[in-house]
Amino acid sequence: MSAETLQVLADVGKGKSTRGVLRVIILALIAGASIASRLFSVILDPWFNFRATKYLVANGFYNFWDWFDDRTWHPLGRVTGGTLYPGLMVTSGAIWHALRALTIPVDIRNVCVLLAPAFSGLTAIAAYLLTNEMTTYNSAGLLAALFMGIAPGYISRSVAGSYDNEAIAIFLLVFTFYLWIKALKQGSMLWGALCALFYGYMVASWGGYAFITCLLPLHAFVLILMGRYSTRLYVSYTTWYALGTLASMQIPFVGFLPVKTSEHMPALGIFGFLQLLAFLDYVRSAIPSRQFQTFLWLFAGGIFVLSLAALVIATSAGVIAPWSGRFYSLWDTGYAKIHIPIIASVSEHQPTAWPAFFFDLNLLIFVFPVGVYLCFQELADEHVFIIVYAVFGSYFAGVMVRLMLTLTPVVCVAGAIAISTILNNYLVAKTPTEEDQQAAEAAEKKGTKSGLKSATKPVVGIYSLWSKSLMVASMAVYLLIFVMHCTWVTSNAYSSPSVVLASRMPDGSQHIIDDYREAYQWLRQNTKEDAKIMSWWDYGYQIGGMADRPTLVDNNTWNNTHIATVGKAMSSREEVSYPIMRQHEVDYVLVVFGGLLGYSGDDINKFLWMVRIAEGIWPDEVSERAFFTPRGEYRVDGEATETMKNSLMYKMSYYNFNNLTLEEAFTSENWIIRIYKVKDLDNVGRDHISAAAFEKGLKKKKATKKRGPRVLRVD
């Protein structure tokens, strides 16, 4: 391949309009690819969101807003309209209405299923826009879009049917950042307002909005510390903060949190600090006395310290809520396990294992630091943002598996910057001439005087065509491997919905284990419309959605005590559990048992969390220690402790285990789901033990001399 042919090829893309068209086509293809790669399997998953959307579509916005859901959290009910992020449902509702207005009759279910892939296409475009703000290479943006489109870290939460808040939230996250950079660069109120608008949308959609709420002030703060205070910063930040906070307060679930909780205080603090700086800036420009300036700086510092003290006092006085437990768990990974077991019990909230980074990001995790390094080289305001984002994103992703999601965009952006820089350097057909080099060296000599050393760049270029082609070829191979990896991960790891388990038979054929749906269908067809189902909260949404039966607790874990009550019922003896179940009007109990199949995600496996959560509320009645053998082992076999053997959960898991207050109602094909019916009180007033003994025909024991004094009958 000669230099000329390459030149000819490169010339095709020279014309400005041609490039524009190409870019649009490429972007469209990327968006298409990112949608397509999410369609491996389609099963609607977080059923609650779907239920909520159906309610929204059926009853209208205002009824949805004031929705009191009496089919969850029995008997407390849930003020659903006030305790959810409505963004997702409103988005699908709006799309549905728009499509109907366009006379496209479409089922709301289809909108819900395809929402996440559709938004992933938008995310790719947002990543393109954001990256374009960072670098002058257009290829970086396209690469970022491509990475964003197919990175497994993002696909994991946005396959078709994964109808969760994250489906739209990542798009909003990236787009808000883009608008923020845009506003900051231009110092524009309009862009700031747009940024606030999308921030508001983000708040309406996902609890992870706090990431933005903390990251933007942090960026501003770093800029200030770097001595880069500017009116651009002032205008963009104050616009964003004022409007964004107002917008976020419109969401009932958020309400007054932005002025009450510590998570939101950095944003408020930086807002105040910027006012102060602006004021000082004005004074400084008006009064040129140097001494006065130092005094002013002291004054500013004093105000800062004072407001910090006020914050501390207000927090300790309880005016401002202290950092919530969920937030603490981000700083101390062991915190949740001790204080808030309900958070620690979710596998998504566990610290990330190292292989997960490679699994979810593959090649990008290697080029990510390169991209960050390149940002250091430029170090404009927007690059500072990438650096700050990279640092915090990495930390949080290391703390919680789930937060890999927030890291993914910055990894894609930084990776794209790195790879496009490499490609731009090596994919230049032109060989540099002597003059270029000399000119560059001269420029370098001049340049060393000013600016950071790292910020200067050699503009020489690569001479050898070999090294060029070797480099380009290896990059191409890496990228191809990346694509293959993404496809493989998506099809194998992230496209198997939790309700259907797929396994391989010895001969390699796929075997589908569909016990969940079988059981939910059974509930739907064989129980009363208002039969209350008690199960661990993991299955709450599924029961509510697929079986359409009221549940005691569900995946929206808003009431720890109620969950602990269920935990107590599961981990106590039947004599203790039965009154609890009666009080909560439980009709059926559902447990997941993996013993027959060797399915590890069953309730016995989660049992310790139930015990821990219950122990958190009733330390006197439930003790985790009692479930361990004297040698400190958690055993479920013959050597299980007495407490373990007598616990309701243990009894329900194993077949015909002398249940006295429950009777087996249904067991699914592979025994994964076992449903028990709670017996009524004995008709003639006996306890269940003696009633069962009588049924078996056991002779009633001659009234044995009871301990203690005899009791006379009182009428």
Binding site: D66, D70, G77, G82, N683, V684, R686, V711, V714
Partner: protein
């Protein structure tokens, strides 16, 4: 001759049938099974059984050994009620095991069980009673005597025929079903009876308790000396006639003395040692009431309807809505009581109240319902209460849990949701005085903004030099 005429017999049959329709009948059915050792024995009880038949019962007589005897047919009750007269057999055979009898109660069948000190009680029945927390004397027999209130006419020596006044309720809030209307000096003869000891269960209520000084002994072994350690029970702990009502309102009456029901004691006169005049026994009326209670003719309550609604003068005032908000509310329940042959308005016993619970997990309100005369009819009384729903959202139950001795259980649960205040149901901000400064602030901002816009666009630069600095800063 008359019987041979088919037409007449048909006529007679129709008449009887019609009579059966109009005459009293139990609310749960009229198929009555009587278990006797020997069908011939029924002659001793002819008046009692005749009374039952005249009240519309169809009585089938069987011996425990009978092959054809079955309480259930194809899983359904074959009889509605069973009477056990004393039998000499030790067991009752495979058709009357305690399990079957408990199932019979669970299937809303009623049992009247009689005992006698002269026969031992069959094992099966003792086991059944044990399940109900009723204990019979050891050796399955015993004799209740009282040296203070025996019948001086028939048992001056043995003191084993107790002469007792009709029973007053054990508590003052229980309906006096069994003594109401009895003559002042009426006496019940309780001949050769067996007393039972009741466990603490709430389903049990003694109808007739032994007097303070009565006691139970085993005439075979303790005729001479009553050993201190062998005393079964004495005094009021000894229940002579016991009522049991299961949660599903199935009833079992344990009558300590089968002889009470015999014609002999329906007609006899009794006198107490205190020198009262001999009086005719109250047994016939008492037997009628006890059997009527056992067979769901007495003390049967029925809920006719339940209604609840918002107690507000608003445009929409739906009846029995599914969802409420913190607001005033009215709950109404209509009740009837059955007595032998007709439903009539239910009136609460003195000192008793009908209560409504409004509960979620635990009751938030427990309020007495009061009689609403305007809605009541001779057939049904209407009880009602108005109250304010608690300021707690959730899934609540209107619960009338009227379980009382001698009345069928009423447990009516109506589930409603109480929702939170919707966003537009709170008082508007201008109503709240604390919000006025903020509203004023809004007004001030709006005015300031509009005027600022005008000034910014239309203000000429100030001519005065002094003011130049402070004038509108342009961007």
């Amino acid at each position: 001759m008359l019987r041979s005429s088919p037409l007449l017999s048909l006529f007679a049959f129709l008449l009887c049938w019609g009579a059966a329709l109009v005459s009293a009948v139990s609310t749960t059915g009229n198929r009555l099974l009587a278990i006797l050792d020997d069908v011939g024995e029924k002659e001793n009880y002819s008046k009692f059984l005749g009374d039952l038949e005249s009240r519309g019962f169809q009585i089938t007589y069987e011996t425990p050994k009978s092959e054809s005897l079955a309480l259930f047919h194809l899983g359904e009750r074959a009889y509605d009620h069973v009477i056990f007269f004393p039998t000499k057999t030790k067991g009752l055979g495979p058709n009357l095991t305690p399990q079957i009898l408990v199932n019979f109660l669970n299937a809303k069948g009623n049992i009247l069980q009689t005992l006698s000190s002269s026969t031992t009680t069959p094992n099966s029945l003792v086991s059944l009673l044990a399940e109900l927390d009723i204990t019979l004397p050891t050796e399955r027999t015993g004799l209740v005597v009282d040296h203070f209130s025996y019948d001086t006419l028939s048992a001056p020596e043995t003191h084993d025929v107790l002469a007792l006044p009709p029973p007053v309720p054990v508590r003052n809030d229980i309906s006096p079903l069994f003594s109401a209307g009895a003559p002042k000096d009426a006496l019940l003869a309780f001949p050769h009876g067996v007393g039972a000891v009741l466990g603490p269960r709430e389903q049990l209520t003694p109808i007739l308790r032994a007097p303070n000084t009565a006691y139970s002994y085993n005439p075979k072994e303790q005729s001479e000396v009553l050993d201190a350690s062998d005393l079964f029970a004495a005094g009021q702990q000894l229940s002579l006639v016991t009522a049991f009502q299961a949660i599903n309102s199935a009833r079992l009456v344990l009558l300590g003395s089968a002889e009470m029901l015999q014609d002999k004691w329906f007609l006899a006169e009794v006198a107490t040692p205190n020198g009262g005049k001999p009086v005719k026994t109250f047994n016939r009326e008492f037997a009628k009431r006890v059997s009527a209670w056992a067979f769901q003719e007495l003390g049967v309550l029925r809920v006719n309807w339940i209604e609840h609604h918002l107690n507000e003068v608003t445009a929409v005032n739906e009846s029995n809505p599914h969802i409420y908000r913190v607001k005033n509310d009215t709950y109404t329940i209509s009740l009837s009581e059955y007595a032998y042959d007709k439903w009539s308005a239910f009136s609460l016993p003195a000192n008793d109240v009908l209560q409504l619970e409004f509960s979620m997990l635990s009751p938030f309100h427990r309020l007495p319902l009061s009689l609403d005369k305007s809605q009541s009819t001779p057939e049904a009384s209407v009880y009602t209460v108005s109250f304010k729903l608690p300021d707690q959202h959730g899934i609540f139950n209107f619960k009338v849990d009227y379980k009382r001795p001698f009345f069928t259980n009423i447990e009516e649960k109506t589930t409603v949701s109480v929702r939170h205040m919707a966003h537009d149901e709170w008082p508007r901000s201008f109503v709240i005085s604390g919000a006025w400064p903020w509203i004023a602030g809004l007004g001030a901002t709006v005015t300031g903004w509009v005027v600022f816009v005008a000034l910014w666009m239309y203000s000429a630069p100030p001519t005065d030099k002094k003011n130049k600095v402070g004038s509108k800063k342009t961007n």
